[in-house]
Structures are given as C-alpha cells and as structure tokens.
Symmetry: C2
Subunit: 343 residues, 2 copies
C-alpha cells in the first residue's frame, strides 16, 4: 500500500510531467508549495515508487517519469477533477447552437471542437447505421439505362447508389418492386433488411413482377454492400505538436492507423457505456503503444451508439480530457434525443 506521502509525490510528479514533458527531479518536487520535505526524502520515496513500478527513469541519473502503471494508478485513484473554463464550456455549447438537424454535421463539428480544445486528435465513430430503420426507398431514373437508388432512414441518414439498368429489366418492374419494398419494409432496421427481403418479400414480388429476380437483385445490390462506418477525425496535425512524436516514423504509423477505418473502428466500437481509458500497451494496436486513447459513447435516439475518442501521448491531460468527453457526450445525447425521441 502507498503512504499518503507517496501518493502526494506520485501525483505531483505525474502532474508536472503531463505539463512539461520533462523528467521530474527530486529538487524540483521539493520546491513545490504542497511539498514540505527535503529532496533527499523525496529521493527515497521515489526509489520506492520506482521499485513498485509506478515510476521509471530515462537513464540511470535522470529524474523520474511515470510508467504506464503510474498513469493507470493516477487515472484510477489520484487525478484531480478538472474544472473546464468558461470559454471552453462556451465553445462546446456553440457547437450545438446552430441547429442544423444532421448528426453528421454535429459530429464533425464536435470532433473539431474536441481537438481544438485539447491539442490532441479526436476521432468520432458515427452510430451504427444498420440499427437505424428504413424510412423510404426510392429509385430515381437518370437516363434510359441508369438510375440512382436512395435509401432514407429514420435518423435522416441518406445512403445512395447509382447503377446501370440492364436491358432485360423492365422499368415498371423496378417501380413495382420499390413500391412493394416500401410498403413492407418501412420501419425495419437496416440490419434486418436483407433477411426480411429474402423471407417475406420474395413471394410477393414474384407475383407482381415479370422479371422479379433481376429488379430485386439490382436494388438489393445497389443498397446493401455499402459499408457505412463513418469516421470523423479532427486535428490530425495535432499529433505532430506533441514532443513525443517528433519522429517521422511514429507519426506515419499513427497516421496509417487513423486513416484506415477498419483498423480503428472496431476498437472504438467495442466500448461499453461510460468513459474508458487505454494507456500505452493497453492498446491493441502496435502503433498506439505510446499513446493513450480515451473513449466515451453517445447515443442517437434509443438504440444506436457511437463513440467519441481522443488520441494523444500517454502523457495526456487525462483529467481535462475526461471532463471534456463527459460534457460533450452529454450534449450530444441531449441534442440527438430531442431530434429522434420515439414517444
């Protein structure tokens, strides 16, 4: 167990290091107001803390820096709650002021605000589109041999796909198909769409259209194989501001992670409610081994959940970031709830 004094010293060291990114020496600590014992005493305590794995040295005669275990302890037990400034709260509020009624835009703006207020990189994962429900399906002909299929969900999400119409498809068949689909599939979650089509609609279509298989397949293909996991990223270049990332190779590998949706998306997706902090090697991805990722969730309406995350060095302002994510996800929830209340 740690003594009071050790707790204090650990906290001071981590706070200082988060601020200055420099190893913290015993003399520097002894000068702080909240510390009243001599540097020698502190040295002894630091040696103990190091032995316990909370601190480490960059070289044998350097000051201490927090280890990942140290950060973990800090986040779990030590960290003082952060009071966001008036301006910061104001900035967040403003994001939700202009009420454009599209979650895409709100999310994009949120990502920008987050990265702006933190100097880290924000990543927001859009909500699971497949949990949303079909509102309307439409085929709009563009020319004699092409058309665009549009799918609208209850959240106002629009998904579309152009396709060319083979000669053996009758345009009235297409129309009939769409009508039937609209009638029968309204309110069905996108994720069940395929299944429902296969089981319930096919017979109906067979009855009412000449060449049902073709028209049906075309509409299905046009709308189904999209993979709409949208990622919104803000402040990509902020990564480069952090002194721990002055190495180009590190930046490059981090960028690859951020740009590749299928690398980062599953990691963000699998978070339960609340705020989760992943420090250094707690992250799955090799490229993030000296980063911390802090995630929170938000929900759109009743069912669909998205994730907000901030990516920074392990030397992160955990306290501030967590406060920010709390406030922001709360705002998002409130806003979206008011749009999509299902009562």
């Amino acid at each position: 167990m740690l003594t009071e004094r050790q707790l204090l010293i650990l906290q001071v060291i981590i706070d200082d290091f988060i601020q200055n990114a420099q190893p913290v020496g015993s003399r520097a600590i002894s000068k702080k107001d909240e510390v009243s014992f001599s540097s020698a005493t502190i040295r002894n305590e630091m040696a103990d803390l190091e032995e316990m794995g909370f601190l480490q040295k960059t070289h044998s005669s350097s000051g201490r820096i927090p280890s990942e275990k140290g950060y973990r302890f800090y986040v779990d037990h030590l960290m003082a709650p952060f009071r966001l400034s008036k301006q910061e709260l104001e900035k967040i509020k403003n994001t939700f002021q202009e009420h454009l009624m599209e979650y895409e835009k709100v999310v994009q703006k949120s990502a920008e605000v987050l990265s702006d207020l933190t100097n880290y990189t924000s990543i927001i994962l859009g909500p699971e589109v497949y949990e949303t429900r079909l509102k309307q399906l439409q085929i709009i002909p563009l020319s004699s041999h092409s058309a665009v299929a549009i799918l609208v969900t209850n959240t106002g999400h629009v998904q579309h796909r152009s396709f060319s119409i083979p000669v053996d498809i009758d345009s009235s068949d297409l129309e009939t198909t769409v009508n039937i689909l609209n009638e029968r599939l309204n309110g069905v979650p996108l994720v069940q769409l395929n299944e429902k089509m296969q089981t319930e609609i096919i017979d109906l279509l067979r009855k009412h259209t000449k060449n049902f298989r073709n028209a049906y397949e075309y509409i299905r293909a046009a709308l189904m194989d999209d993979q709409p996991v949208k990622l919104y990223v803000g402040g990509k270049t902020n990564i480069m501001n952090q002194p721990e990332f002055k190495d180009i190779d590190k930046i490059r590998s981090l960028f690859s992670v951020i740009e590749e949706e299928n690398q980062i998306a599953p990691i963000l997706r699998k978070n339960a409610d609340g705020i989760k902090v992943s420090i250094g090697h707690e992250n799955e991805l090799e490229a993030m081994r000296d980063c911390s990722l802090i995630t929170a969730t938000y929900s759109l309406g009743d069912e669909q959940v998205g994730t907000i995350a901030l990516l920074g060095p392990t030397r992160m302002e955990y306290s501030k970031v967590i406060s920010l994510l709390n406030v922001l996800s709360g705002q998002m929830n409130k806003t979206f709830q008011s749009w999509y209340e299902t009562k």
Copy 2:
C-alpha cells in the same frame, strides 16, 4: 543559348538527382555511359550552368542540384517521355473495371491508384456540382416535425439535408411546393437554381400554397447553402517518405494545406485544359514553396470539369507523373462520357 553538351549534362544531373536526392558531382557524371568527357570538362560546364541559374550548390564544395529554373527548363525542353510499365497500366485499368456507376467512387479510387503508383500525394477535385442539372427534388418526412430534403442531379449526385419543420408550415404546402419545383426546375443547372426560383417560381407558389414563403424558404435553405467542393486525397502519408520532408514543421504546414479544402481547391480549380506543372515558388501557397504540383483536368459529361493533381517535392519524377496523369485523365473522360452522354 545552351550547347548540346550543356543540355546533356543538365539532363543527366537532373535525372540523377530525381533518382537519388543527392547532389551530383562531376566525377559521377563522367562515369555515365552517355557521357564521354572528363570530369574536369564537366566541372567547367557545370560552373557555366550554375552561372546561368540552372544549377546550384548546397555548399561551396558540394556537387550540384537543379535550381527551380533548372527544373522548369527540364520540364519544358529536356525531359524524356516516360514509358509506363505493363503493370502500371494494368493497375490503372483495373480501377475502371468494376463498373460502379458513381463518379465519387471512381474518383476516390483514382486518387488511391495515383498515389500508389507514384509515392506522392494525389489530390482530386470533384467536378463543379453546380454545373450539373437538377433531376429531382424530394422531401421525405421523418417525423411530425422533421424531414429530409433530397436533391438528385443528372450525374447521380445526391445532396441531402435534414431540417425541422416549424409548426406554422402546412405539410401539404410543402408537398405542393416540391411538386411545383420538380415540374418547373427539371434540367436546370444547380448554379441557376436559386435565380430561377426567385424569378419564375415564386408567383406560381403564391398561387397554390397558403403559406408559400415559409415552405419555399425552408426548402431553399435546406438545399442551397451546402458547399459541395469535394476533395479526394490519396496517399497523404507518402509525403513523409520523401527525404526532403523529414522536418516535422514542413510536413505539418503541408498537411494543413491539404486538409483545408478552401486553400487548395481554388488553386486546383483555376486550371485550363491540359497538364500544368507548378514548380516551387511558382506555387502561390507559402507551404508549397518546395513542392511541385502537377495538375490535369477531366470532364464529367459535357460541361463539368474537375482537376487531378499530384503533389510532391520539386525533385519529382515529372516525366512519369505527367504520363500517368495523361493516361488517367483520359480514362476518366472516357468512362464518364459513356455514363453521361447527352445525345
């Protein structure tokens, strides 16, 4: 005027430097097969070429590197045409094989292929959406107090906007308005939409709807103030592979340029037909002062024009890039023409 020998030497130097990114010395040149004179002779010629401004030294006793004037001369007069390899041509073709009928996707793929084949960063500016013509307008209600407005163009481009419906708007008014707009505005270029609405449609609307001003304003606002200059970027991290960009500050400022659509878009937009090469300080933007930007145009249907560009260091494989852009823009033209032929 330059002598034959000077031309040869200049070409050899630039070719070599483009390959190796190292200052080229007289001895290295004299060893090349196509060069038959001694290093001393070459030194003399190099001194002359430097005096004329085509070459420069990194320090007083270093080999020569091309100046911007040197690159300019190379591009205009010296450069040997590049023969693309079978595999490269194959890769480009494959991009257009799977015929997804959406220019957005084709353009995105093209950007990826370009950056992939060059190790530079590709930037493609989407076509001027406003030159496309309105195909259909739709309002799809989401709930009692919200709806999504969808606009489809003749190119299959879909633009949408959710909005909340104020209580004083009658839903039948909305419907009537949309019907009238569709009837009257089909085929009108988006850029004229606003004007046409103001002049021709307003009277009609006044006649047929109770509270025309509101419904009309809402639809207008919902669809108009989007700014759909889409930028497709491929191979962002390629920038970091170039040895001239091992400085983080340079990378950061370049990234800012690439990410900020309104910085780079106007520059790309203002290109005439054909291929244009901007070397170093010929670029307007400060951040691009040691880059070259090579742009080409493509057209979608008959009127709308977009731009493909490659961004790399001034030490760029001009010859290869120009060949690639030629082939790719040709392919894009061909593909899009077949989709949107207006006969």
